[in-house]
């Protein structure tokens, strides 16, 4: 129930719109009832051959109700759908606002296929919270009240009877059908989630599936998930069909009971025959708003589940938060890392263990070490994707947690091993780094990054995850991005590891040219041209084991020398 209230709180801004839509909805059904009642009145009255004048009012009434019903329904539908889409956009923004601070630290264990499912499906199912969950009971209650009042004028007995059948149709049938279909909606959603993950595995891992002969098996899994889903959807459809029939049956039962109750009174003259006809038609018309009620219960169940899943993600506390009054980014870019330790949640070992070092403005340093030494974790800490467990990182003497993370990131460029490209145009992918950049700026950056042939392709689509581009081209896009960003501090995290020798050399040279005069942190396990660095830090198992310039480290008989020799021996044997 708590979840339901949290959800309704989200749609509260549209309260008055919803109230209006509900009122119009009620008026629509009311017109329908009125139309049949006045029609029946005309017939019944005509049977006694009255004067024409006696019928004039009801004839006008019939026409009015007939027109009103159509027009009101149109208005109600437009308003309620507009509300729905407003709610949808609001939900999406709300979700994004909540998820944005959580990325990437808190989202590590969510699979993005599942996330997509959550966003699109759960939100799409919540968008209907007004039309499917809130509006139908409201209309039904109003119509039931109206009927109670109308019948009460003729006969208290009839009013009590209609109340009984309305209660059965409004509460009994929905509860019964909810009981029958318990778990069905959740089951369908679960199968859909499974399917989404399987489908993503199919689309992105199809090469592996083919080569390992696992494609038929994988397709079979997808098929069986579909089958289970279809079975549940069939069950659902059967129950839905049944509750429609049950509501219809209750309507007929109400007609029979009320006739039963009123006919004796008609023969004794307690009630006029005209009223009998009018009441019967009113009873028939009054059941219309009860038809969607069982679906309401089902949607409520689905929405609750969807809400639970969304809140489960969103209730996580962000790893890093912007300080309330962030300090301005310092003009001095000296970086100092002081007794920094870090361990990932639920991990027993420290990924970084009390490391300290400092970098002066404009210095170029390299952090080297075998994979798993904690090099990339350091990058994530610099970028404030995570918070330091102990110790601190400071820039220009300010602890980076006191800066606005956005400002910090704008002043630090990162090129990592795999550059994420959005399935957008080249332009969109570049302009990210400098919103509002002119085409000329983009072209200059592309040329400088070694992609002069891309300058005419700004509007070309990069394909799924930039798959249409080669590895070298992707890294060059990343370089063009940092050129546009023009930050004083640059971190290269294995930026050229995926490139072939020649491309690597070219890219390295481009990088060298654009990083001169800036503070540079290179993270690498490939020891090439190490003499250029002002300082080399050797990171092993989370701790700095050696520190110094290339020649100093070569004089020691440590890990650095071992790594260097190994890499260069191999190369030396080639010739």
């Amino acid at each position: 129930m708590k979840i339901f209230f949290r959800l309704t709180a989200l749609v509260k801004p549209y309260f008055w719109w919803m109230a209006l839509a509900a009122l119009i909805g009620f008026a629509t059904t009311g017109s329908g009832i009125g139309l049949l009642m006045t029609s029946a009145y005309i017939l019944a009255k005509a049977a006694s051959q009255p004067t024409m004048a006696a019928l004039e009012l009801s004839i006008a009434g019939v026409r009015l109700f007939g027109l009103a019903r159509g027009v009101l329904r149109y208005a109600e539908r437009l308003i309620s759908h507009n509300i729905t889409f407003k709610i949808l956009t609001k939900l999406r923004l709300w979700f994004y606002d909540a998820i944005e601070p959580l990325a990437p630290a808190r989202l590590m264990h969510f699979k993005s296929g599942d996330l997509l499912q959550r966003i699109v499906d759960d939100i799409q199912s919540l968008e209907n919270i007004y039309t499917r969950v809130l509006a139908p009971p409201l209309t039904a209650i109003l119509v039931a009240a109206l009927m109670w009042f109308l019948l009460g004028v003729y006969s208290i007995q009839a009013a009590l009877l209609i109340l009984l059948f309305h209660l059965l149709a409004g509460i009994g049938v929905p509860l019964f059908s909810a009981w029958l279909s318990r778990g069905v909606q959740i089951g369908i959603m679960k199968h859909k989630t499974v399917q989404q993950v399987l489908a993503l595995d199919l689309f992105q891992g199809i090469g592996e599936l083919q080569v390992y002969g696992k494609l038929p098996e994988h397709l079979e899994q997808l098929h069986s998930a579909e089958k289970s889903k279809l079975e549940l959807q069939r069950k659902n459809a059967l129950i839905e069909g049944m509750h429609d029939s049950l509501t219809g049956l209750l309507m007929n039962a109400a007609v029979i009971s009320i006739l039963w109750a009123l006919i004796p009174a008609v023969s004794t003259g307690g009630i006029s025959g005209i009223s009998l006809a009018v009441i019967t038609l009113a009873v028939i018309a009054s059941f219309e708003p009860f038809l969607p009620l069982p679906a309401t219960v089902k949607h409520l169940e689905a929405d609750k589940h969807a809400g639970e899943r969304l809140f489960e993600i969103l209730d996580a506390k962000p790893e890093t938060e912007a300080p309330a009054t962030p300090l301005p980014f310092p003009s001095n870019h000296d970086i100092s890392v002081d007794r920094l330790s870090f361990s990932y949640p639920e991990s027993m070992t420290k990924t970084l263990d009390s490391i300290s070092f400092s970098i002066h403005t404009g210095q170029h340093i390299a952090i080297v070490g075998p994979s798993g030494a904690g090099k990339s974790t350091l990058t994530a800490l610099f970028m404030r994707f995570w918070n330091c467990s102990e110790g601190e990182i400071s820039v220009g003497g300010y602890n980076i947690s006191l800066l606005d993370p956005e400002v910090l990131r704008r002043n630090m460029s990162l090129v990592s091993q795999r550059t994420y490209l959005f399935a957008e145009t080249i332009r969109e992918n570049l302009i990210l780094a400098k919103p509002g950049a002119s085409d000329d700026e983009l072209k200059t950056a592309l040329s400088a990054a070694g992609l002069p042939h891309f300058t005419s392709k700004l509007d070309e689509w990069t394909g799924q995850h930039g798959m249409k581009l080669s590895g070298g081209e992707r890294q060059r896009i990343a370089i063009a991005r940092i050129l546009l960003q023009n930050a004083p501090i640059i971190i290269l995290d294995e930026a050229t590891a995926n490139l072939d020798g020649l491309t690597e050399k070219e890219v390295t040279e481009t990088l060298k040219a654009i990083t001169s005069g800036k503070t540079l942190i290179t993270i690498t396990h490939r020891l090439k041209a190490m003499e250029q660095y002002d300082k080399i830090l050797v990171l092993d198992k989370g701790a700095i084991t050696e520190e110094g310039k290339h020649h100093e480290l070569m004089e020691k008989d440590g890990l650095y020398k071992r790594m260097w020799s190994l890499q260069h021996e191999v190369s030396a044997t080639l010739i």
Partner: protein, 579 residues
Amino acid sequence: MNIDRRLFQLLKEERAPFIFSLISGVIASGLLIAQAFYLSRVIDSAFIQKTGLEKLLPLLGFFALFSLLRMVFNWASNSEANRGTIAIREKIFIRLIERVGSLGPIYTRSVQSGRLSTTLLKGVEALDAYYSQYIPQIFFALFTPLLIVCTIFPADPVSGWILLASAPLIPFFMVVIGKSASAMTEKQWKTMSRMSGFFLDVLQGLPTLKLFAQSRSQRDTIEKTGETFRHATMRVLKIAFLSSLTLELVGTIGIAIIAVGIGMRMMDGKLTFQHALFVLLLTPDFYLPLRQLGTKFHAGMEGVSASKEIFAILDRSTPAGGDTTGFLKQDSAGTCPIVCSNLSYTYPGATLQAINGITFIIPESKTTAIIGPSGSGKSTMINLLLRFLEPGAGSITINNCPIHDIPLEKWHRQISWVPQHPYLFNASLKENILLARPNASEEEMNAALTKTGLASFVTSLPDGLNTMIGEQGSRLSGGEAQRVALARAFLKNAPLLILDEPTSHTDPELEAALRNSMEELMEGRTTIIIAHRLETIRSADQIVVLSHGKITQCGTHDELFTAGGFYRDALLLQQESSL
């Protein structure tokens, strides 16, 4: 109306349930008329003839019985239509996934996964309303009003004529308004499917957005997309609802005209109360199926729109898998050389050939390295060998049999493949490795782990081999993912080995340690390897140098080094930068 011919074709495959559904519906319509007749009798007797309740009990009993039966038949009609629909949906789903499966990785890489999954999961579901509601409703919208009008005629011909005259207005308006709504629904479907792709992209790229401090401004884009969607949908709905408004008005005004008309005729004594009430009771039910057709038509159109994307996938031609058995008698690709002759490939829409008429032999049981600058056609060559692509011209043959004539699974069974970016499935690490050979023994598994240097990594994982590795192996580094792929290759033990930068994410220490196991893996197998780091390919029996889709050089390390050219340059470059 909007019965897409191909959708109708599918309907024919599941004829029986739909026929049952229609029959049940027809019976239900008959019962509806009987109900109206008895109800009008009851009220007429009570009102006009002042009959007592006891004498009316049989009539009320009939009314009750018919209403019960009608509900049963209605339910049966829905149920049968649903049964047929479910069968059709399952069929389409199977056809779709099989088609995507045979289209292969080159196709799936060229489209957004989000869009594909929208088509696969939502698109097929959107067909539900088309088959289970729209199609049966077309029949009922014709049949039920006709049946009602036939029974009204003997009671009151004038009302019958009014109904007959007003009925065609409904389909008329529906067609007029429906046409423009149809185009709009289609557009809206596209917006929705684009939006779903857009969201996945934004989510996956959220870290990148954060790096550029753009994640908060992305909010505006989402808002804009949402608003675009809202406007698009509202435009559709304004028209779609306009059609239902017209239909509703035809219905309600029809009722009003009939009610006033029969009232007048009763005053003139031309009509009895019972007949008049019978007509009035049936009039709403005359218009109801026609009106419902309006709403169901709208729901059905969504299915028609979705089906366009579905058929677009189904219509893509897939490489015809041959069934040549000549090659299979030996069932080992490792003992024959692979011959590429005049092989060419051009990507669709590209002007330059990615592979341009190359001819060379990949000797059996030996190692062939392919090198060249990026964009030279190395990956295309691998994709052709893996049969992810069909050659545009020329052929790849083994044992005189074009590999593209061999059934795909049989060809793939011969191959172990270590891609540059191995895909890790959303499953445990163990399942990811066992993909290559599900029945591998524990010793074989351990051997593969040791040889790929994964053994110590596994022990560092919280649940060891049973650790779930997420989307794109988000918990595994690139090097670790490649080693998983290597472990797969060890387990698969296939005669052909295709290595696409197998150690590009591995550090030199580990690479050196892996070299022995890699050599063991390559021993006695026909190996094709792409490597940027030339250490890896020094010992290759043959080195093929590609440039702009052509072979510029081919030979051993010594030959190429002496001859000079790309290989020597690249090697010297590497030397120079490391010394």
